[in-house]
């Protein structure tokens, strides 16, 4: 059995060879992923953005995820090279320039968890937690979820996930899935300012969503990824430039009905999913928060977190 070690402990040559052979096994919270791909962009992305994530170079077990970042056609392997994420099932993926292989890798991991994971109720949401419980943030794209997640990491919360809240069905606790926090456009500089440049990846420009960079998970987020947390606070953040910050308490029924559409697999899981969602909200309070600046949102979240005992 080959042990896992951080990406940073391997040489470029070792990582490139494992990626080419499709034998790089990446441990990501409750999942393991087999990663395959060729070229410097993907390898560099993993070395930078996943530097503290545990991997091994040869497969020793069946993995939950098998992700191949590959050319969409033979032509695009050599001429104006492109890549798509291939998770082993057909997905609607727009080919990206090979230089954006890291983005394709992230998209691929998201697609697998969103479409094929039935061990958890998955919600499109950010989650952070401390020893007392978790904050779950469910927002539309552009709602400021990732910026809030990154800001809360600076306040001593552990990163559970930027993209998916994973709700364990038997005990209704949230599982940690500490992937890098995806930052877009203006939020990149905001997070770089408070997290420090060393914690934010180089910017990928001209993506379909504009500029993208990643705030890395910290070693402690990764080593404590086996932990789970009770949900104490559910937030539905909404960013609106220039607006005065406000918070509106939501009744439990409204919170249930607002979380369901953000789940990618709720309808597949039936009664178990419904019961887990109810149980998760048993000890939680829910709020819709509207804000115009990150400072405003953080002040509100601090107050609300204190109110629920976080």
């Amino acid at each position: 059995m080959v042990n896992f070690a951080p990406v940073s402990s391997y040489s470029s040559q070792e990582l490139a060879a494992a990626l080419k052979a499709g034998s790089l096994e990446v441990a990501l919270g409750p999942f393991t992923a087999r990663a395959k791909g060729e070229g410097k962009p993907l390898r560099s992305f993993l070395q930078d953005t996943y530097r503290d994530v545990m991997v091994r170079l040869s497969l020793s077990d069946v993995t939950d995820i098998a992700l191949d970042v590959r050319a969409p056609s033979l032509l695009r392997k050599y001429i104006r090279p492109q890549v798509i994420p291939d998770p082993g099932f057909q997905v609607p993926a727009v080919p990206l320039p090979k230089s954006m292989s890291g983005l394709a890798f992230e998209m691929g991991l998201n697609l697998v968890v969103a479409l094929k994971c039935c061990r958890f109720v998955t919600f499109h949401a950010g989650v952070v937690a401390n020893d007392k419980g978790a904050i779950l943030m469910s927002a539309e794209s552009g709602g400021g979820k990732s910026t809030l997640v990154a800001a809360l990491m600076e306040e001593g919360y552990r990163l559970y996930s930027d993209e998916f809240a994973l709700l364990n069905m038997p005990d209704a606790r949230l599982a940690s899935y500490p992937r890098p926090v995806s930052l877009k456009n203006e939020s990149i500089e905001i997070v770089r300012d408070f997290a420090g440049g060393d914690w934010v990846s180089p910017v990928i420009s001209d993506t379909p969503k504009g500029k993208i960079a990643y705030r890395r998970a910290r070693p402690e987020d990764i080593t404590e990824a086996g932990e789970t947390a009770v949900t104490k606070l559910v937030l539905f953040p909404r960013f609106e430039a220039g607006v005065r910050a406000s918070a509106r308490g939501l009744r439990r029924a409204e919170a249930i009905m607002r979380l369901i559409p953000s789940s990618t697999n709720y309808h597949l899981l039936g009664e178990q999913g419904f019961n887990a969602l109810r149980k998760m909200l048993d000890g939680a309070e829910a709020f819709e928060i509207t804000y115009g600046t990150t400072d405003d949102s953080m002040k509100m979240v601090r107050d609300l977190a204190a109110k629920v005992g976080l």
């Binding site: 009744r251 029924a253 009905m257 899981l269 009664e271």
Partner: protein, 104 residues
């Protein structure tokens, strides 16, 4: 609209075994086990489902029972409102004509 044919004599039913009902102050969240759909019902819809779980009934019977249960009079809750609400509940699958007993 209803999901199928019906008349004034149609007996309607809701199957408790197919539903998980979580009552709140003024609404109920209902999970329908057969479809996997979750619904939020206002107090009138929730009362109709609850009454039809206890005993099947026609539009007229349900109207009478709803008025008694919610302590309303026909001006507050006319029979046409109960009927249209029942037809909407039929569309969602939460209630059904008794002769289609397995479907609700």
């Amino acid at each position: 609209m209803a999901a199928g044919p019906y008349s004034a004599d149609t007996l309607w039913v809701a199957h408790a075994a197919h539903l998980i009902v979580e009552p709140h102050e003024d609404v109920s969240v209902v999970f329908h086990k057969l479809s996997g759909d979750t619904h939020i019902l206002n107090f009138l819809s929730a009362a109709i489902v609850e009454l039809l779980e206890e005993q099947p009934g026609t539009f007229a019977e349900v109207t009478g029972r709803v008025l008694t249960y919610l302590e309303l009079d026909a001006d507050d809750c006319p029979p046409s409102l109960v009927e249209s609400t029942m037809l909407q509940l039929d569309d969602t699958g939460l209630i059904a004509p008794q002769n289609l007993a397995g479907s609700a």
